[in-house]
């Protein structure tokens, strides 16, 4: 499989990259890990005139604490996230999610920035990013802006990023004590993408007997990842019981038009959203109860 011809640029700095995307706009595509873009190019479903390879940019691959937040560089690979000790301690949801992406080769190349920018309807990170209320930092030649995760995903393969912008960083608040997270995924057997993936982030209260606040991100079910607000509403402030969790999970697919394909009909996806939402909430609660800080 051979892509159509393109002009290849490998900028050495972010500024240089930004100038290139500004100049070429729509006709340019950024190349990060290449694990979403290159398959499309090889099939000639995508044929950008300019490919701007940011894979070599130094300093865009990191996981560190900054002003009390966790900052992750856009070029950080899935595998670096999977194995980060800092994240395991302060934000275990991300390593958990990363570990379920594709296979080892995909995780070694694919980047979190690429995954979010690509906004594949079956991508895993979007669910986690939503449940964590992360912030996404985008830069262009005139500066940077911060996009809340909730606003970031617009539609299938479409985000708030403008042509000319580069996603540079993801920012997450460290999880408070008494909170717990979990990512539960039903994978598509061929590609590994999520048929349904549910990230749950719960904060417990009342001696860990009640849910103070829940954030549920769901991917795979619809054209874009979304926050399951109806589930959250049904959980917030409730004393924990199997029934509460079960009832809340019934709202997982509320108001969304489920995707339907060869691997899962809309009906099945809807039902799996319920099952996996329940499982994710239950595991997040367990995590919150099991340990107050660190570990899963």
């Amino acid at each position: 499989m051979i892509p159509a011809s393109f002009e290849y640029h490998a900028p050495k700095t972010l500024d240089e990259a930004l100038r290139l995307v500004e100049r070429h706009g729509d006709e340019a595509k950024l190349l990060a890990g290449g694990h979403s873009l290159l398959p499309l190019m090889k099939l000639r479903l995508a044929a950008p005139r300019y490919v701007i390879d940011i894979g070599h940019l130094r300093g865009m691959s990191y996981i560190r604490e900054e002003n009390g937040q966790i900052a992750i560089g856009a070029l950080t690979t899935h595998s670096e996230i999977e194995h980060s000790e800092l994240l395991a301690a302060k934000c275990p949801l991300l390593p958990q999610t990363a570990a379920q992406i594709g296979d080892v080769q995909v995780r070694n190349r694919g980047t979190i920035g690429g995954s979010l920018a690509h906004a594949d309807p079956g991508g895993d990170y979007p669910a986690a990013i939503l449940a964590l209320d992360a912030e996404i930092i985008a830069a262009n030649t005139s500066g940077t802006r911060t996009i809340p995760a909730r606003d970031f995903f617009v539609d299938m393969l479409t985000t708030q990023l403008h042509p000319g912008e580069i996603l540079t960083q993801i920012r997450i608040a460290p999880r408070p004590p008494q909170s717990g997270t979990a990512y539960e995924k039903l994978h598509q057997p061929a590609s590994g993408f999520a048929i349904v993936g549910v990230a749950a982030n719960v904060l417990l209260g009342n001696g860990r007997k009640a849910i103070e606040r829940a954030a549920i991100g769901i991917t795979g079910l619809a054209a874009k990842a979304f926050r399951a607000e109806a589930v959250e509403r049904a959980l917030n402030g409730k004393t924990i019981s199997d029934k509460v969790i079960e009832d809340a999970s019934r709202n997982a697919a509320q108001g969304v038009e489920p995707l339907s394909d060869l691997h899962a009909s809309g009906e099945y996806r809807r039902e799996m959203a319920r099952v996996f939402t329940r499982r994710a909430i239950a595991r997040a609660i367990e995590a919150a109860r099991g340990v107050s800080r660190g570990g899963v």
């Binding site: 595509k29 995508a46 690509h118 617009v154 539609d155 299938m156 708030q160």
Partner: protein, 164 residues
């Protein structure tokens, strides 16, 4: 691939009818339409560039109206091909007056072949729904602007176009 649904457009059937059957205006509604030229009675040559994000392709083909019953119903036939594959579709559109608006009920079926059918399978349904939605969102906007009335500004179509 089957599509069906209803939408309400903010104008009476006669206006909606003339919008849908007037080539120059119609061409503005069709997402990515670059050309729509008469090619016989009720038949047009079309060139469309359609895509989602990085995935895009150009298609050339024909658009035809059949069984026109103004301003009640018509059949729309599409036939196009491009490097990513080919599409052949037929849809029935019915207009029912609802006060001074029109309710449109559409049912259609499209066959997709070639590359997009063999590798784009998981995106196809959603993509088709998106095209239909964009079409009717544009129709809404067009009808509202001709009315001169303040259109609802938060059409999701606009948000899409802002994206990459």
């Amino acid at each position: 691939m089957k599509l069906a649904g209803t939408v309400t457009l903010p104008a009476p059937p006669s206006e909606v009818w003339s919008l849908l059957t007037d080539a120059p205006r119609l061409s503005r509604l069709l997402p990515g339409c670059e050309q729509l030229e008469p090619d016989g009675p009720d038949r047009y040559k079309a060139a469309v560039k359609f895509g989602i994000a990085a995935i895009s392709g150009k298609y050339a083909g024909t658009l035809e109206f059949a069984e026109k019953k103004p301003p009640h119903s018509l059949i729309l036939k599409l036939d196009g091909k491009g490097l990513p594959g080919f599409v052949k579709g037929e849809g029935r559109i019915e207009l029912t007056p609802k006060g001074d608006t029109t309710e449109i009920a559409y049912t259609g079926e499209a066959h997709v072949g070639g590359l997009i059918a063999s590798v784009g399978q998981r995106m196809l349904d959603a993509a088709a729904r998106k095209i239909v939605q964009q079409f009717f969102d544009s129709a809404k906007a067009e009808l509202e602007s001709t009315k001169g009335a303040a259109a609802e500004p938060n059409s999701p179509v606009k948000a899409h176009r802002k994206g990459n």
